[in-house]
Symmetry: C2
Subunit: 369 residues, 2 copies
């Protein structure tokens, strides 16, 4: 074990991995380091579209690798076993999840099941004593998120949310500049995320699987972006909804605009949609400068400009960087970066307020932490 | 008079001046035509900063020229007389405005006095039987705007608002593309206008002169832009306010965000400020394309892109184009373009609703026309 600790220590010291623990350093470059001899061993739970993106990205990981799967679809399992060399002993279905606790070859489970299953699945993983990373949105609401955090704390496992942009170099550079005061006092934020949804039969359009619509799924990017653009937590929320296609969006929200009021007086004016393209943007305005990222939230490449010129940062694989960053924290027992369940809860408190404001005809909802 | 009518007819036919009457043609190019032998004769009322910009621009006009001034400041009058060759007989102060009715050398008065004086001054000009163009915002509220429209109609004079962007070629091209369906169905609009105000003693910060703050003065750009980006009239309004500098902005609003709901389901998510720069933008998203203008509302050059590439239109002097366009309507008895008092009223109805929403804590205000 000594050689592994030494190696990882070298990684940390030499490549600024501490940046991932919230320090304002440049993003680390895992691409340049050799594969760890004992990487973080990850099982994927839910083998849908995003699981494939994560698994493909993780082939670039230096500190993490996929060693298991949890799926209810045997045909998908066969493909994954072949593609990633997963042994039979590391294959689970939704009825055998609790047996994970007996498997020393899996350190962490990545939950990419539909949003409304996150709560149940994270509780199961925590009960099996494994660390867990769950896709955003953390859950259907803040109450569920609190239960998930409590369960993981009780079980002594780490609990992360797939906020990959907190590892993404362009995004990290904007956060660094903001923390360093390079924009001066932040005065306003204008974020939007969305896309025109395709297949009308997909789980995103089913409330019982998705929990909600655009706000739950893509609005969280605009919202999380408003929080990392300001470094503050909102104290009030207002929101408005539009539904132009009540057939396709009969169960879930199509387009929502929402405003966040922050303690310093900043208003973040945000929006999200499932029904059109070309809106994606993060735009922060300070009294000494500004940043604008377009695209700001997709899988990359992220592009951005500030008052000082283009943001020159490497284009990295978001999923690989995220998983190496989390692996670094777990393997080296470092403080967690800003992507834990608590971060997910902070977003869900606002999402709850957005829906409450809409239910109440746009009323201002004050948030009591 | 025949030669004049013939000349102006040629102007109209040859250069697409009809575009200014709301037809979806390219903006006309007044710069290429010779000076009219009998142009529209304009008196400037209020000789502040914007009057100077208008007068400077109007030196490029082919169909309009400055022939008079109305001012309470003799030193300013002297400068203007010299600069623009204004005879003593065409000089008025605020107590002699009614005598304009006896002056055949003035066809139209351009009111650029502080916003809260627009109502009083337009009523005076109408009573003097002169056509009038008034800067935006038309008045302090919709009630005043209605009174101004009624007074001008009763007096048989034309009443315009200084919506110069309706004559600006890049803006006109976006409107043309929207009307031609090139963006498809408009799905969303995101507009912002504002700047960091300088001199803390200026009239814009005094409610009794300005009527209100950022919303009245620059918010109207974002709002008018939302209306010409959609071609619809809003049916509901929500709004939020932030005041980070309660000393400087003790009388008027500093930063306001507002949302307009349109009949087709479009939400325009807008904002305005007097306290920071770098927010200016018009961004419309359709289901077949998009347009983004940055800068979108200033005195030019206006720049924009669409899904088809950069908007290639000439950079013109906004004030000259506006005044030639209005002169063309009056001299040739053409239908007025979309810049009449009625257009100003439509904006003021929304401005009233914005302030009402803020007074009611962000409540949704439904607009009954």
């Amino acid at each position: 074990m000594n050689s592994r600790r030494d190696f990882l220590q070298k990684v940390s010291l030499g490549l600024g991995v501490t940046a991932l623990s919230g320090l304002p350093a440049a993003a680390s470059d895992f691409a340049k380091i050799p594969m760890a001899d004992k990487p973080l061993r990850v099982a994927m739970m839910g083998l849908g579209g995003y699981a494939n993106i994560v698994a493909k990205g993780m082939q670039e990981c230096k500190l993490a690798k996929i060693t298991g799967v949890i799926s209810g679809t045997p045909s998908k399992v066969d493909t994954w076993k072949q593609k990633y060399g997963i042994p039979d002993g590391n294959v689970y279905n939704y009825d055998t999840v609790n047996q994970l606790k007996n498997n020393p070859d899996i350190d962490l489970v990545y939950v990419t099941t539909p949003n409304s299953l996150h709560h149940k699945h994270v509780l199961q993983i925590a009960a099996a004593g494994k660390h867990v990373i769950c896709e955003k949105p953390v859950a259907d609401n803040a109450k569920q998120a609190r239960e998930m955090i409590a369960a993981c704390e009780k079980a002594g496992v780490r609990f992360y949310i797939g906020y990959r942009l907190h590892f993404e170099p362009h995004t990290r550079e904007v956060i660094r500049m903001r923390e360093a005061g390079e924009f001066g006092k932040i005065m306003h934020v204008n974020n939007f995320m969305g896309f025109k949804i395709g297949d009308p039969t997909q789980w995103r359009l089913k409330k019982e699987l998705a929990g909600g619509g655009a706000m739950m799924d893509v609005g969280v990017y605009a919202l999380n972006g408003a929080r990392y653009s300001t470094g503050e937590e909102p104290v009030w929320v207002t929101a408005q909804e539009s539904k132009t296609d009540p057939v396709k969006f009969k169960d879930v929200d199509e387009t929502i605009t929402f405003q966040l009021g922050f303690p310093s007086g900043i208003i973040a004016n945000c929006g999200c949609t499932y029904n059109f393209n070309h809106g994606e943007r993060l735009h922060l305005m300070g009294d000494k400068g500004w940043a604008e990222m377009v695209p700001a939230f997709g899988y990359g490449p992220i592009r951005g400009n500030t008052h000082l010129g283009p943001i020159n940062q490497p284009d990295v694989n978001h999923q690989a960087y995220q998983m190496d960053g989390i692996a670094d924290c777990i393997l080296n027992n470092k403080p967690d970066p800003n992507v834990t369940g608590h971060e997910g809860l902070k977003d869900m408190i606002v999402v709850d307020a957005v829906y409450e404001s809409i239910r109440k005809g746009g009323a201002k909802i004050f948030i009591n932490k």
